[in-house]
């Protein structure tokens, strides 16, 4: 299932426009940047192009926007999306535990205080919305998470170069999320003709001190663990 999703993701061209990357005034699809993103440098690009104000959410473009994918989407997209969400939900707790364990004391003993899910800029998700709304919000959220987890992965490779288990979990999660993004976009494009979703990204934390990065990463994963279970049930 994961392999299929990844193939979909690699073949499909996302329909979001440049504004969806979060630097506001940019328009036009940067295919090269997307492909680089495939090679896990999306976080780096995000950091390089980040500007103040990038974190503000942007409205959904009109339904009539251009919607095209490079390859035909899989026939059973919703099932794939559900399975991917279930996969993420199943691995989120282990990722969370692995993360705060790796950060050293007192993180494991102060998870509530240091890793509390109190992120203010986390994209919202409404369980009771229509499928289209939920898919759009899911797309926003997963985009946000993918970029954020990319930052976390980068930080952890520097801070904990020997924590290979954590690195593996982070990379696996990001891979699934990218496949999920592709499938969600396919669904939105094919069924709802939504070719563009404005997304938000987490503020750059590369200039923050190590403790802040540790803490924000932990809060992100704590939030992710909570939200993904809700999202998985919503589909």
């Amino acid at each position: 299932m994961e392999r299929e999703s990844s193939e979909n993701w690699e073949r499909d061209k996302p329909g979001s426009q440049g504004a969806g990357w979060g630097w506001g005034d940019r328009t036009g699809w940067d295919q090269g940047a997307w492909e680089l993103g495939n090679r896990r440098v999306v976080p780096l690009l995000l950091v390089l192009h980040w500007k103040p104000g990038a974190g503000s959410p942007l409205p959904i473009t009109s339904v009539n926007a251009t919607c095209a994918t490079r390859h035909p989407c899989h026939g059973n997209l919703m099932n794939q999306i559900k399975n991917q969400l279930a996969q993420l939900n199943g691995s989120a707790n282990a990722l969370f535990i692995s993360y705060y364990t790796t950060q050293g004391e007192p993180f494991p003993n102060n998870v509530d205080k240091l890793c509390g899910p109190n992120m203010t800029d986390f994209p919202p998700f409404h369980v009771n919305g229509t499928e289209k709304t939920k898919l759009v919000e899911l797309y926003r959220m997963v985009t946000y998470l993918t970029a954020s987890l990319g930052n976390v992965t980068r930080d952890q490779k520097v801070l904990n170069p020997n924590a290979l288990s954590l690195h593996g979990k982070l990379n696996a999660t990001i891979d699934i999320m990218r496949g999920l993004l592709s499938n969600v976009l396919c669904r939105l494009c094919n069924k709802y003709h939504v070719g563009h979703v404005d997304v938000t990204y987490t503020p750059d934390i590369s200039s923050k001190d190590v403790f802040q990065r540790k803490k924000l990463g932990c809060q992100l994963l704590g939030t992710y663990k909570q939200v993904i279970s809700v999202v998985a049930q919503a589909f």
């Binding site: 050293g104 004391e105 007192p106 801070l159 170069p161 923050k208 001190d209 190590v210 403790f211 803490k215």
Partner: protein, 1126 residues
Amino acid sequence: MAQVIEEPKVRKYLKVNLVIRADYIAQTMDVYAQWKQPSWMVDNRRARMIPHLAWLLPALTLLHLTMQVNGLKRGATQDLKCTTNNVQVWDCTWTDPLGVSPGTVKEVCIKDRLRSCHRLQTTNIKIPALSSGDHEVTINYLNSFQSKFILNENDVSLIPDTPEILSLSANFSTSTLYLKWNDRGSAFPYPANATWEIKVLQNPSMKPIKLVSFSTTLSGKDTVHHWNWTSDLPLQCAAHSVGIRWHVDYHHFSGYAGWSAWSQLKNISWTPDSQSSVFPQDKVIFAGSDITFCCLSPTKVLKGQIGNLFLPLIRLHGENVAIHVQNVNVSESSGTNVVFTSIDNVHGTVFFAGYPPDVPKKVNCETHDFKDIICNWDPGRLTGLVGPRNTDYILLDSISGKSSVFQRLEALTNDSCCHLSFSMLPNQEIYNFTLTGHNPLGQAESQVLINITERVAPHVPVSLKVKDINSTVVTLSWHLPGNFSKINLVCQIEIGKGDSEQEVRKITIRGAEDSRYLVTVDKLNPYTTYTLRVRCSTETFWKWSKWSNEKRHLTTEAIPSRGPDTWREWSSDGKNLIIYWKPLPINEANGKILSYNVSCSSNEETQSLSEIPDPQHKAEIQLDKNDYIISVVAKNSAGSSPPSKIASMEISNASLTALLTMNEQAVGMGKRIFLTWHHDPNMTCDYVIKWCNSSCSGPCLMDWIKVPSNSTETVIESDQFQSGVRYNFYLYGCTNQGYQLLRSITGYIEELAPIVAPNFTVEDTSADSILVKWEDIPVEELRGFLRGYLFYFQKGERDTPKTRSFDTGHSDIKLKNITDISQKTLRIADLQGKTSYHLVLRAYTHGGLGPEKSMFVVTKENSVGLIIAILIPVAVAVIVGVVTSILCYRKREWIKETFYPDIPNPENCKALQFQKSLCEGSNTLKTLEMNPCTPNNVEVLESRSIVPKIEDTEIISPVAEHPGESSEADPENHVVVSYCPPIIEEEISNPAADEAGGTSQVVYIDVQSMYQPQAKAEEEQDTDPGMVAGYKPQMRLPINSALEDTTEGETEKAAGYRPQANVNTWNLISPDSPRSTDSNSEIVSFGSPCSINSRQFLIPPKDEDSPKSNGGGWSFTNFFQNKPND
């Protein structure tokens, strides 16, 4: 300060006063400085000052008042005070005397080398520095006032100008303050020493936290000085202020040098950013050091911790707090977390504690290709720092000045540590490398000087190729990357043949640049698979390269080096000759053998058979009995081998029969057998040993080997050999005429135990012997050389547990080891007749004992003995009977008198009446009644005499002894003899009789029964050995009792029966008395030897001298009783 001098006395005083005042000022400033120092900087110097002040202050006050009084009294100018800030110009001031209005013109004259006067209105004057010594200064007022001063350089104070701080900056990440100021040295004569004092105050309390001083030298020009200071408390935690002052020591200035005023304070403070509130952040520190963390919090901080360790809070201003950590441990890779928990938030920071780089150890630099120098090293102690804080290394060649940098930021881990590549420089062979490792905590370095031509470890040779020259020579080439054009290479070629045999050849070749190298490898074997590989070094050996990959190569074929080993056997019918040959070993076949050519030749013709393909290794030729020479040639693709020849006929051997009958034996080990023989000079070719299974029918050939003619021994080994199988080995010697059989040997590779038991039968049986005969065990089942038989036998019958197995060591088992294997019979003697014996026979070899075969045999009965055993007792009985009859006949009167006296008339017996009256009413005492049948007992007692034992002594019937002798009677020695009248059997069912004589028994003694073995055995068991005498007829009778008494001792010795010599000693008991059988004490004597119950006649004794019978009495009685019955 100068004073007016009116009188010498006063002048002297003033000079003293000046000095004292100057000291006072200096000390006062020092005191101030000391007071301004923070409390933790005050030393004992301050304590020493206090006693001086105690007396100095009142004295000075007193002096000052006195001077004022004198001045007023005289109207003189007071307090000429001179200072200088640069030694070169003095600035003197004074106070006008009372009555002189300010701005009054006055003339000031200074008496130096030249007298110079200055008119002025002010009360101060700047004059160039005066020379050393006293100078008179006169101040003349126009109103005729005049004041004179003696001015000396010693009276002048050198007070430098107040310094000014150029800049104060801070590095908040390192908590370091940087101070910069100008010394204005151009204003001073030089050289002069300047001493600076710097104070650091912590705001907002303005609490001095640091006061330091240091000296500089004034060089005659303005110089900017720097000072930095690292705070234990992060600078973010509080604002800090810095001020400086100084004083100058000029050697040529003898006046007082005082401190300047403090400069204006410079402040430094941190502008907080958005979120960070715990400091320092991401700091890298030495493991084991101390560090202070502070938290800037708008709300109250509750606790602070490092990892899981809570530490006491140090309160700073406001809600800010700090914790101090001592002796920190090495951090984890992601750093050690420090967390402050406030009421509404959690703040934290991370620090990284580790070590500076260790000195790189085992630095080794070498080149693989003369293009790059690879240096590797051991980093030594781990720093505990990873990622961007890990150690970076720089390799610097001091000769060329070039360097190479190793950064592990990309690698992040220690896996890639530690090697570094340095590009070689053309025409440079000597390198002086300095390897420096540095991390945020420090650096360390190592040096190594190398001649790179001596540090060559070539790359692995690649692209091995092998090309055939001929069947024994090939060329081997390989590619070796690198520029070796200036050196020679030494390479090793490993030539492997098979799995184990390896040969290493060493060659030296001229080096080249990125070239292929080609060498010739000779002395190879044809048609052999070789495994070749190469490694190289240089003539100035440093290291071998790694071995190249192996290259397998098969050399080309050559003609077989010799013909195959051949042998021939005549078929069983003797008409055909079967030619055998062996496939050539690979090293002699020199290729794949395709076929064989077999031909036979005689003097007349040569007959060639068709080609025989390789897998077949025999051919059959129909030949007559003439002598032929058989030739076998092996062929491969390269050609044919030399022929192997063998004569069709064997050379006859006269002693062949003897050889065969000698039947030499040999036993091998494992799968091998060792054979030896004596050297025979007639054997010129070789020896051939062939062998076959001894039980095989047809031509005997299983295999053969050839042994050189100079050998006298060989080891024959074959996978076909099996343990326990007999093989025949034949040794042939080869002469020019052909092969001749020399020896025949029978052998086993390993002997095993026989698998069958010898089949044996009983040929003959007698009463005391058994003749056993057995057969040979077949060779196939013998499984070894027969070494003998074990024969066991013991008494026993079939299926009795005792005879089911022969336990070793059992005493009843008799074992006979028959080592003469030619013996086929065995007679077992000394057996008992008519006895069952268990016979077991087992064969054995050196391999062990074979199974057993058993048999049960019963010996015949011994008839003569039986006859004797029957006849002797009968004869004895007859003789005894005859003698007894004769005696009885001759003594019949006496017998009658003794045993059957006349019975008196019971009517006359008063005793009966008495007894009747006495025992009237008692049924048990009806002794005179004639009961139908009551068992009668006669007990014969004989004291101190050995009574012959009779077999039927189960009858127990006590007999009353004579009263006089009853006490002497041994109750254990009595013999009870019972007899029963014939009517007993008829009345045995009488209840009264049963009751009265319940324990009485009647035993009929048969003479013959005495000869029964069982009876005899029982008698032997029950009889005292000393009393065993058997039955002895009475041959001599004692005459009287007196004689008996005198011969008591003899009678004791005389075993057997003794007649009763005295009738009076007879003790009769009532056979009816039941008690008579119970106890001797209850025996009742009736005073008569008659049995009143007996209906038989008692024969009265003929006379008193007649021999009396006791034991014989019962014997004869029985005899007589039985006789009528019979």
